[in-house]
Amino acid sequence: MAISLTGTFASALAWSSILSLTAIGITLLYRTTRVPNFAHASFVTTGIYASTIVWVFGFHPYLGMPLGFILGGLEAVLLFYTVLEPLRRRKASIFLLMMATLSFDILMYGFLNILADMLQFEFKILSRNIYFAPIDFRIGGFQGVTLVSFVAFLITMVALQLLLYRTNLGIALRACMENPSLAQTLGINVSRMLLLSWFIAGATAGLAGALLPFYQMCNAYTGTYYIAEMFCASIVGGLDYLIGAPIGSFLLGYAKILLLSFLASTVGPDIINYMMIIPLGIMVITLAVLPTGIVSLIMRRRGV
């Protein structure tokens, strides 16, 4: 029993780390652009195929991490620049902005599917079944992705913290999150700050996607499959504070994996197919009981 417990723990650690990398982007974008980004699914899927591309060219897919980071970031910048910024300038409603991210997601989904089909055609791989766990290294009896994802998560958090609190750029970004019109009067180019936040969000999501095939079998639909869970993590943590993203992700990640583990051993392994319902259920409950998320509850207690 002890072995399966630590195995579950490790699995939850990996999943929570990967989930955090996606959720931080969602919360960041929500704080800066005030829109829930449905295209986040595509950013993650892009990361998946970044790893895949690296692999078909003969390199170890972990090298897909920097590629996923860059491609995800660029993709987000593309979305911002071509669609969201023009809309923002026209003072579009949040509803139009949401629709815009959804359209981009659809567009990207088509594109990524084409990429998958072509990879399959050219390189004879099963591009709808990307799974790198068998070639992952092992450490102390666990899969390497547990360590790699957690380290990636930590580095990202630290880097973000340094950026936001130790650099002028970061200060400007935080000012934009707090009060964009005031930030503008202080000489901050709000549009450029938003661009930066989109790059960061896309890049972290791409990084998460690059790690995902080490954790589970992936295809072009995987990002879309998890978009609800990503939002869930952000919402549960609380969209008002960036720290909400990792907190919500770890809470949700552990709850899900431990619950599934427990149910699988009592009710039966089929329960895994219902995995999706857990985060949805938690999100619904959270929205009913605590719509601003856990972090704001903590903040309120501290009298902030």
């Binding site: 002028n168 200060i171 400007a172 000012a175 707090e178 009060n179 019109s181 005031l182 503008q184 009067t185 202080l186 000489g187 901050i188 180019n189 709000v190 902030v304």
Partner: protein, 235 residues
């Protein structure tokens, strides 16, 4: 210092200002008065690059700024103190000022001291979260955020709106002090005609997007019609 010439501006298709010409020199307080909806805030928005400029010119120290984006205009030394939501409520007073300073190139540590001397109450409350300040204190902080950047031009949008008389008097007095102590131009948009006339060096009256009066405060007092019709000041 600041010269606006034949400005036509508005928001999208909504034409608000018609052929406006306004000037403000160094160490001058220019008040812009008028009824609601006249376009006073639009004038400030136009100078700051937020409104859409259809034609005309806006020159700061001889340099044309009408085509620049707002953040560049801010960096040229224009501080725009908005009427509302003009502070970072989650941060402390001191942090608000430090952020403003960190993002400005012209400033120096003396400006922080200056601002704390000008508004001692802010110094008292400097560790306090800005969102917990009273209305008047918030306005003082908002003005300080702008001032601490050592600007050439200060744009004030109804700084005394909604404040109790104590603060109205205090802030009006401080505006006058700023003009005396610093090499600065101040454009003051106000609803409170009396207070504005007390401190202004020159006055413009804006009605329905057009200037119906420009001159000295004393001259305006003599224009009974204007005072009554547009500024609500009966005999």
């Amino acid at each position: 210092m600041l010269r606006v010439e034949n400005l036509n501006s508005g928001y999208g298709k909504l034409h608000v200002l018609y052929d406006i010409s306004v000037e403000c020199g160094k160490k001058e307080i220019v008040a812009v008065l008028g009824p609601n909806g006249a376009g006073k805030t639009t004038l400030l928005n136009s100078i700051f690059g937020i409104a859409d400029i259809y034609s005309g010119s806006i020159k700061l120290d001889g340099e044309e700024i009408s085509k620049l984006p707002p953040h560049n205009i801010a960096r040229r030394g224009i501080a725009y103190v908005l009427q509302m939501i003009n502070i970072f409520s989650e941060l402390s007073v001191d942090e608000n000022l430090r952020i403003s300073m960190a993002l400005s190139k012209n400033t120096s540590p003396e400006m922080l001291d200056y601002v704390y001397e000008l508004f001692p109450i802010l110094k008292e409350r400097r560790k306090q979260r800005a969102g917990t300040l009273s209305g008047g204190e918030r306005q003082m902080l908002a003005m300080s955020i702008g001032l601490v950047r050592n600007p050439k031009l200060l744009l004030l949008d109804e700084p005394t709106a909604g404040l109790m008389p104590l603060y109205v008097n205090l802030i009006t007095k401080k505006i006058s002090e700023i003009r005396d102590q610093k090499e600065i131009s101040i454009i003051l948009v106000e609803q409170n005609v009396q207070k504005a006339l007390e401190v202004a060096d020159r006055v413009y009256v804006l009605v329905s997007g057009q200037i119906v009066f420009k001159g000295l405060p004393s001259e305006l007092m003599g224009e009974k019609e204007i005072m009554k019709l547009y500024l609500g000041m009966g005999d």
